[in-house]
């Protein structure tokens, strides 16, 4: 399948500030791709480069196999859902949704039918005569969505469209957006700073930081195999620890983690010449119990803090040597083990769950 959108070595500077730093990105046709990152990381600028509201300082933007770098927004086969919805306050819901078709010169009767379909799609059929100020936030959001999809764009760009909604509505809209995307088969490029939104909806996630894409992959890949410390911390929680090589054996390496904890990893996971590295361990991958954990790097640790969160128990552990780790234990049954602060417990780490990050 050809790329729906392609950024080739795109750089965008605003004065001295580099908002997008030499980014190359290929977005597949029909996929739901999320640009995830903290505010000011450049994710919105990436979206605006695709929409045509910003021109790249360097590099080219391709949509559907065509170079659209020099085309204004109104000549690009993409549509955007704005963070503020940007509905036309002087037009009715139906006129708002029909705006794009009117601009394209679609005959009035055909346009009316398509507007109706789009409003049906977002369950706003009987709101067509209202003005935007008579709608709730969630309804405005759906009008903005209908207004964009009615034009049948190759790519739909969504700039934090759910951020103004309350938590409950946001969750249901997440599922609705995903359903809509599957139903329409349009490529979605979704910008958010909310990792939960990204995990819920995306086929692939691009972690954006300081104008660069730190990692591009499925939610699975990024969660289980973060490429950088930033990616590891931005999605989910992580124990980020520095470690150094102690010795290399046949097929395995022995490393020492800051504080003194020693672990054995398969040698393939530790690149050859490296002496030191940052490692990431997900808190739920730290296995704890009263008996030694079989088939894993075993050690004992003292519980320094215990926070009961219902479904899970969050523990702060310190090994005898002084390495500190966060652990999350699922509370599988009411009769399960209860951990107390000050207790010495057995811990285990599977070698596969220790992620060696390339560099800081």
């Amino acid at each position: 399948m050809s790329a729906a959108v392609e950024l080739r070595a795109v750089t965008k500077r605003f004065g001295d500030f580099v908002a997008v730093d030499n980014v190359s990105l290929e977005i597949k046709a029909g996929e739901f791709l999320t640009l995830l990152g903290p505010s000011g990381c450049g994710k919105t600028t990436l979206l605006r480069l695709i929409a045509g509201f910003e021109l790249p300082t360097q590099g080219t933007v391709w949509v559907g196999g065509e170079d659209v770098t020099d085309r204004p927004p109104y000549r690009r086969p993409v549509n955007q859902v704005f963070q503020s919805y940007a509905l036309f306050p002087h037009l009715t819901v139906a006129e708002n949704v029909g705006f794009g078709l009117r601009m394209q010169g679609v005959p009035a009767t055909e346009a009316a039918g398509r507007v109706r379909q789009a409003l049906d799609l977002v369950a706003l059929t009987d709101m067509d005569a209202r003005r935007p100020h008579q709608l709730s936030g969630g309804q405005r959001q759906r009008v903005a969505l209908a207004r964009a999809v009615v034009c049948q764009p190759r790519v739909l760009l969504l700039d934090e469209p759910l951020s103004a909604l309350d938590a409950r509505l946001r969750q249901s809209m997440q599922l609705e957006l995903k359903r809509l995307q599957r139903q329409l088969g349009i490529t979605f490029v979704f910008v958010t700073h909310d990792q939960e939104e990204a995990l819920t909806m995306s086929d692939r996630i691009a972690i954006v930081n300081r104008g660069r894409i730190e990692q591009l992959g499925s939610a699975h890949e990024i969660y289980h195999r973060p490429a950088t410390a930033f990616a590891a911390e931005f999605i989910g929680a992580a124990n980020l620890l520095s470690a150094r090589l102690v010795r290399r054996d046949a097929g395995s390496v022995r490393i020492q983690v800051a504080g003194g904890l020693e672990l054995t990893l398969p040698s393939a996971s530790w690149p050859g010449a490296m002496e030191e590295a940052l490692i990431s361990i997900r808190p739920e991958k730290v296995h704890v119990g009263r008996a030694p954990i079989p088939g894993a790097n075993g050690f004992t640790a003292r519980i320094e803090e215990e926070i009961f969160k219902g479904a899970t128990d969050h523990l702060r552990l310190a090994t005898a040597a002084g390495t500190r780790l966060q652990a999350v234990v699922a509370n599988e049954s009411a009769l399960g083990e209860i951990f107390h602060v000050g207790e010495e417990i057995c811990c285990g780490l599977h070698a596969d769950d220790v992620i060696v990050l390339a560099a800081r």
Partner: protein, 299 residues
């Protein structure tokens, strides 16, 4: 006297009592403006209305009778023509102010915060000088040996100086100059409120620059355009100082005629009748524009 209404029905609805008290406070705050309006608008209008129904004697004194004669004379062709000319000048001024003022207001409204302040200041600067002095300044610019003719001769565009002063051209320039800020400011107010992402959304949905203007920017500026039209058209129609100073006596507008009835012709009832008809015209215009403006206005 201390009444004890606490046991009465009045105490059962404290909210109504509160509302009544709040209403009284609001009226108290409005007293100065209401007093001003009564004293300087309602009373003079009533006096004018009474005069308009009177007659005058040979010496120009007002004779208090009931007569519609003055109103009859208002619709004399001479005056109807002057009315029409006044409306024409005011309409031309309004359209010219709109054409010149809209781009200016748009640029100011869409400029960055810092620039907006500076540009607004430029629009306001003329108000620091008296209106009459500014109009006199135009005389020195437009007269035969004035600045404009001097400049034209300097660049050898013409050997003979143009007759600029005391022409319809001079009156138009004066009117447009005087009322331009009253068009710019309300339109600026509307333009400034337009959300930038709405303009982007229109572009995104396939509207080129012209369509964005006609389908989004213009309709959203309508409240400002209506207000500006009102603020220019209504006073321009009654203006007499500019027509006197820049038009000489050659371009009499209705304002000059009314002024003449009171000061030179000493025909107060007729001047009053002209004034009343004129005011009726204002009220109708105002009402129409207000309705139009409200329809376009959006939350």
């Amino acid at each position: 006297m201390d009444a004890l209404p606490a046991t009465g029905a009045g105490a059962a609805s404290p909210t109504a009592a509160d509302a009544r008290r709040a209403g009284w406070r609001a009226w108290l705050l409005l007293t100065p403006v209401v007093g001003w309006l009564v004293l300087f608008v309602v009373v003079p209008t009533a006096v004018l209305f009474v005069y308009s129904l009177c007659e005058r004697d040979e010496l120009g004194r007002v004779v208090f009778t009931f007569s519609l004669e003055s109103y009859g004379r208002v619709f004399d062709t001479v005056y109807v023509r002057i009315f029409a000319r006044s409306i024409g000048y005011a309409a031309f001024t309004t359209v010219a102010c709109l054409i010149i003022g809209f781009p200016v207001a748009y640029v100011i409204g869409r400029a960055t915060e810092a620039w907006r302040q500076r540009l607004l200041l430029l629009v306001m600067v003329p108000f620091w000088t008296s209106f009459l002095i500014r109009t006199y300044a135009w005389i020195t610019i437009l007269k035969q040996e004035g600045l404009l003719n001097g400049l034209l001769q300097l660049v050898s565009l013409s050997a003979q100086p143009f007759d600029l002063l005391y022409t319809p051209f001079a009156v138009s320039i004066g009117l447009i100059y005087a009322y331009l800020p009253f068009m710019i400011l309300p339109i600026y107010g509307s333009v400034e409120k337009i959300d930038g992402s709405v303009i982007e959304a229109a572009h995104d949905l396939g509207a080129g620059p012209w369509r964005v203007f006609s389908a989004v920017i213009l309709p959203l500026s309508m409240p400002g355009i209506a207000a500006g039209t009102l603020l220019v058209f209504v006073p321009a129609i009654a203006m007499f100082a500019i027509t006197d100073l820049l038009g000489g006596a050659r371009v009499p507008l209705i304002g000059n005629v009314i002024q003449n009835q009171f000061l030179q012709a000493r025909d107060w009832p007729f001047g009053a009748a002209l004034g009343m008809v004129f005011m009726a015209l204002f009220v109708v215009t105002y009402w129409l524009l207000l309705r139009f403006g409200r329809e376009e206005e959006v939350a």
